[in-house]
Structures are given as C-alpha cells and as structure tokens.
Point group: C3
Chain length 316, copies 3
Amino acid sequence: MKNFITINDLPNFKKCVENALIYKIDPFIHNGIGKNKTIGLLFFNPSLRTRLSTQLAAQNLGLNIMVMNLSTETWALEFEDGTKMSGIRSEHVKEAAAVISQYCDIIGIRAFANLTDKNKDEAEIVLNSFSKYAKKPILNMESSTSHPLQAIADAITIKENMPKHKPKVVLTWAPHPKALPHAVGNSFTRMINHIDADYYIAQPEGYELDSRITKNAKITYNQSEALENADFVYAKNWASYSNYGQILKTDNEWMLTKEKMKITNNAKFMHCLPVRRNIIVSDEVLDNKNSLVIQQANNRTFAAQSVIKLLIDGIS
Amino acid sequence: MKNFITINDLPNFKKCVENALIYKIDPFIHNGIGKNKTIGLLFFNPSLRTRLSTQLAAQNLGLNIMVMNLSTETWALEFEDGTKMSGIRSEHVKEAAAVISQYCDIIGIRAFANLTDKNKDEAEIVLNSFSKYAKKPILNMESSTSHPLQAIADAITIKENMPKHKPKVVLTWAPHPKALPHAVGNSFTRMINHIDADYYIAQPEGYELDSRITKNAKITYNQSEALENADFVYAKNWASYSNYGQILKTDNEWMLTKEKMKITNNAKFMHCLPVRRNIIVSDEVLDNKNSLVIQQANNRTFAAQSVIKLLIDGIS
Amino acid sequence: MKNFITINDLPNFKKCVENALIYKIDPFIHNGIGKNKTIGLLFFNPSLRTRLSTQLAAQNLGLNIMVMNLSTETWALEFEDGTKMSGIRSEHVKEAAAVISQYCDIIGIRAFANLTDKNKDEAEIVLNSFSKYAKKPILNMESSTSHPLQAIADAITIKENMPKHKPKVVLTWAPHPKALPHAVGNSFTRMINHIDADYYIAQPEGYELDSRITKNAKITYNQSEALENADFVYAKNWASYSNYGQILKTDNEWMLTKEKMKITNNAKFMHCLPVRRNIIVSDEVLDNKNSLVIQQANNRTFAAQSVIKLLIDGIS
C-alpha cells in the first residue's frame, strides 16, 4: 500500500481487520520489520488515543519514532501556492514536506477540519500537500474529512461483538457545545459498506452528512426509529454539513440516555472518544457493561499496526 | 509492588535504597526486563529532573517510553463525577485513564497541588483517579501531597554522606515569591522515619506542615535552634498548610546564608531543585562544596530505576 | 572532540565532510557506538530540520534520545550571576546544566540570538553557560552567533555539486519581515574558508556582517556584481549587525529572482530553510531544478551524524 488516506486505500479491508486481531493476540510477531526505519508522527491538533496508540503500534513493529507538534514546536506552515509569505507563516509546506520526507520512511499526519471553508476542508489541503510533496507513504491520523484508523478499530470492535444475526447498526448524531468535524461519521459510514449490516443514520434536520458518502445508508430524522431493535449504537456529534460548520441545535433532545437504549436490542454503545458525559451520552449508558468505548480505543493500536505493516510492506 | 503512590508502598525501604546504589554502579544490569513493555509518562506540570531522570531510568531497564504533556498535547480532562461536560474539559478521566492503561504497562503521573482547596488536594484527585480507572501500576512523579521519588533520592544522598554518629537532620522552611505545595516536605519527613536520625523541622508560625505527617519530628519556630550542630540542612519553601495555600511571610529572614550555616556541624546543604538563588538560599551556600543538590538530582535516576524495577516485578 | 560549538572545533573539517558522505551511503555502519549512551536535545526555540535530522542522526548511531522544549516543558532559566531570583525564572542554569549533564552523555542546545543586546548575544550566554556547568560534550544546534551543523551540511552539498573549475560562491542578503540572527551567515562564511572558492558577500549598506568573520570574503553592496558568473548563490536574511538587530530595508529590491539568476553561471541556489517564498526568493528560483535547498536539508542528518560520532569518540 502506497498511502493510507482513507479506508478505500486498503487492498483488502477484511484482511486488514484480521491482521489487526492477530496483532491483538501477539503484538510482537513482526517486531523486526521496522528495523532502521523511522516513522514521523506530525500533530497539527490535540490527540490522546491516536498519538499513543500509533506510537505503540510503531514500537511493536520495531520502527523508530519521531513525534512533532506542528503548532508549538516548529514553524507555522503556509499551504497556499504563489503567496508572498510576509505574515506569520514562515515555511511553505512544499519545503517542509519534502524535507521531512528525507528524514522519515513513513509520515503520519493529524490535521482537523477548520469548519469555516467547505472547499478547503474537502480539498484536504494539509494531508494532500504532504502527500504531494513528501514522496513517502502518508498515514492519515485524522484529517479534515476522514478518520480511517478509527473506522478500522470500530470494525474490529464490531467483529468482536458480532451477534449471530445480521446486525442493525445505528450512527446517531448527538449534541455538543462546539462545532465538530464530520471525519468520524464519514469514515464509520464508509467502513460499514464492508460489513453485512442494516445501517441507519439518524440526525436532526440540517445535520445530514455528505450524501455522496451516506448513499447506502438508511437516513432518518427520527432517532427512536433508528434505535428501535438496534444492535450497535454509535453516537457522535458533528456540525452541519449543508450549513457548513454551523451549530443548529443546542438542546439535549438527542442525548443518548438509558431510556432510549431500552428500545434497542440490548445494543452495544460505541463512541470514538473523547466523549462529553451527560451531553453526548448519559453516565448510565457510558458506564454500562454494554459500552464498547474502551475496547474501541484499545483496538486503535492494532488497527494502526495492521495499517503501518502494509505501509512498510509497500516500501520494503 | 502494585502502585507507587507514597514511600509507604515500598515493600522494603532500605532494600529500595540499596538497589538504587547498585544501579548507580551499573545502570544496565537489568536492561532486558523492560523488553516489550511500555511506560507512559504523563505530565500535568513542568518538570526537568523528574522528566529526564525517570525517562533515563526507564531506558536503563529497557522499557519503551511514551511521554505526554497533558496540558498542551491532548484534551483537557474532567475529574468530577456526574458533571454535565459542557465546558472546556472535553474528556473525562474515567475514559482517559482506562484508555491509556491499555497502551501502557506502567503509568507515571505528575500533578501538582492547586493550593486552593485542601480537601481536593488531599484527595489526590488526579493520581487517585488514574489509579482507580487505569488498572495498571501508577508511578507518582510528584502529586499534590507527596514526592516520593525525590524522598528516595534524598535518602540515597544522605546514606552516601552519612557521618559516623547519629546525624541531626533539619528541614527548614525558606522564603519564596510564589505559593508552593507541601509535597517535598511531606515526603522527606515520611522518609526520615526510615533513617536513624534526630529530625527537626523549623518554620515560622503558621507554616507548620500537616501534623499527622510530622508527628515524629521535633518542631520549632526557631531556625537557629534547629540549625545548631546540624549535619544535614534541607531548605524548602511551602505555603501555609493551616491557612491553606497562603503566603504569610515575604521577607528574607529565613533565607539560608553562610552565617547561619556556621552554627551547624559543617552541615551538608540539601534542596530538591529548582531553587531560587538568594531567595531560598544564598549563592555562597549553594556553591559551597557542602552542597549536595546536584548529587540529589543525580540520585533521582537510580531512585526511579529502583522503583520502576519493583513495578515491573509486580506485573511480570 | 570535546565540544562542538563552531566548525573551528572540528579536528579536521574535510574528514568530517567525508565521513558525512559515508553515512549518506550507509547510515548504520556505526549503529552500535551509541549503545547505552544518551543524547539530550534541548530546544529554546522552534526547530524542524535541526530537531528531526539530529534525532535521526543520533538514532543512526544507536544513541538513546531525550528531547526537551525548554520554553514550554520545564522551568524558565536564569542565566545572570548573583541575581536575587524573585521573578519568573525559577531555576538557574548553574543547577539546570549540572543536573542535565548527569542524565546525558551529550547535550545538544538550540538557543537563538535575542537581537536586542549585541554583547549578550556574542557572549553566547546559553551555550556557554551549559558548556561551563554541564561538564559533558555540547552540540551546537544553532546558537546566537553560529549554526555550524548547517554549515557542514552546506559544505557537503557544495561538494556534491562542485564544478570542475574553482567556483564563485555568493552569499547574498535578502529581505525578510522579521529581524533574523546572523548565525547562518557567520557559519557559512567560516565554512567557506575550508573550500577552494572565490567568495563574495553582497548586502545593502548597513547590513555588513561582523568583519572579524568576513575578513577573507569579497564584500560588495552591489548584488549584480556578486551574482555575475556565480556558481552558487546562497540567499539569507539577517538584521543589521552594526545597528544591532534593526531592520533597515523593507522593500523587495534584493529578493532573488529568475531574472537575477540569469547573470549567474547557471548557479545553484542555496538556503538553509525555512524560507519565505516571494520575499527572500521567488517561486521560480526555489522550484527550479538548480535549487539545492532540499538536498541541503537532507545533508543535515549526515552532518549531525558525523559530528556526533566525533563527540562519542571523545567520551569513549
């Protein structure tokens, strides 16, 4: 595999999940393949799970690791072409990416959506600029529009908890005080195409995700309809996509509660974390044994390890 | 050993000090025991000695190391139960600790006292929340009320400089422009119980440490009385404990000077560092050959190594 | 080699460049010599190339690496002697350097000029304080007045692109919105003494570099005269040295353009990066195949590796 930008880059999604589960049993079976190779992990945004699980995954494969916080440790980067660089941005990504690619064999990048300009976010300027100028494999550690490592971890977690029947999987919007990107919702939705499931997305009017991504899903404005008899309920906030980056609804009507979970088929609860308690979901649901959020986070390590293995294979 | 929260957690204090001195002679005798294990070092506060010495100690034992600055690199954490998380804290420690504990075999935490709410500080909310939700060994890298790695390093240093007679050891309060926690004073005092010494604590009125901790010490408001014939003088500032977190005295009457040291028994000078020159102690005392502060800092590595070894033993 | 403060510390400049080129062919030929040794990389200022290339160089030699951001992760340091430390600086470099030197076998330091006080900058207070109190080899990762790792990388790059005739090498001042230090200009100039070249420095009046350093160079206020028939053109901004730290010229008259490059001998373009596009140099020149800036950055790794090897030799 040359780059890992979305899960569509995977040569074989099912195989990637299976390999992750093998790493979960023995993380060190390939601990020599990273020898004398270096992964650079570049963070434009905060990170807990991604930072630590990707680092651990790389360690398990024997890679050297260099972590850099782009917003605090180095020069502010310019991404526009042809600019007269007289402002605070003192280095162009053309140089930065080309330079870093000489020091690293694989480059992981985390760069969130700004949620102010849809075109810019969808152009994935940071990720694609690095991809264009770096000439080394790029590992998406959450970009403007996708979070594929999370989606693979989610797939692993669903597989580990799969009922015997074809499951009903629900992605439901939930409230949040800040405008959040669509990356997790997008990638989860793309991922579900690889699973034999009835897939519903529930959200208030105005919060529909990009229809090019959700075209195979059953979409509803009725959260109860979606939750009814569900086997997996994934809660997540995102800002409006049509009214790009706006918060349209601030009440707690869509918060996931114990009462709402009662109409599900004893559903497993999922969230990518970090999660705001009693805003997105009530304590009772999150602390219930049916909550998979900690398991999802654990599977981030093996998702990353499975993907990085493919990137190493691509350069070996 | 399951956790290292205070020196009382050590199965055998003397043995821990002895092992540290063995590591000081050969740091690499156990450099295979950390293989394929990972220590996460989490910093909520600034650190120089603790950060570098703990990292070095972990390296000497062959551990993988992941360092994270909680205040700048990841999400602000919520520690209160039942909160509606609508503010700036976007992740609850319940999730953060449980997640991190899946990526790490040992978790080191540095989280200072806030000095605004005695009950909260004494509840050791950060350390105990991680201990409760992480389910992995916790290494105290300085908490609200204790700094046990420093105390072990101090014990090593005293042992290396022990006179032939039973020593007089003095902990004296000294002035400082900012309100500082009681952690070092507490842990040094607890540690002295393991040493055969006459132990005095001198401080101005209103600056008495927690009497539950100092119950075996001779306490005086007269610095000269304490210094007289002393073999070790440990200077340290702390804010008022009774008038919690307040600064009651701002003049330099209690600064440690060359003149004051003259009434000691050619005492060794100790401080945990960082130390404010000519505020806590005069240049002359700090630059004198009797100053042990650099030696204390060196021993931090071997104290940490001795403690981490015990934590590894507990999970192997 | 005991310390690496300027390129004058190198026992043999040519040999250092040759060794770097050997590392460029096989970075891992000496990957055992750093075993059980630790390099501490201390950053007082932002860094991209230096941080990553030095880290990579150290990894290639098998060193353990500890990176610390002095401005965000630890205590603010005091450098003045005899101060009453009542302000924001809570630790003196005397202690900090002595302490760090116990945790590290080699100490890399990056500390830029402040450009407010020429005497202080020329005293190299940070670097020399560490050198004085640390008692371990110091690696200059750019100081107030010099950037010798960059100069070695530049020498490697020139060697790789050397024409058959004695080259004309030009260092030309270029505009910049901020006041920048003289470190790169100084070190490049010192380095050229080791190369058989005709060396010109061009700058507007008032921007002359320190004449003690430039004494062997041909100095001109006429950029065209310098560029004419040049084989290498190194563009770089610096603030005024005589009118210390001031910006005297803000127009783009001295920006390096395609038109200006036409009067050269098809010159190679050089810059240490980060470079402000269309301020220092036009896109056309930077994106031309004659631009060596990415190659220079790549050679930073091997320059650092060659130098660190000498520092390890000095302690082995």
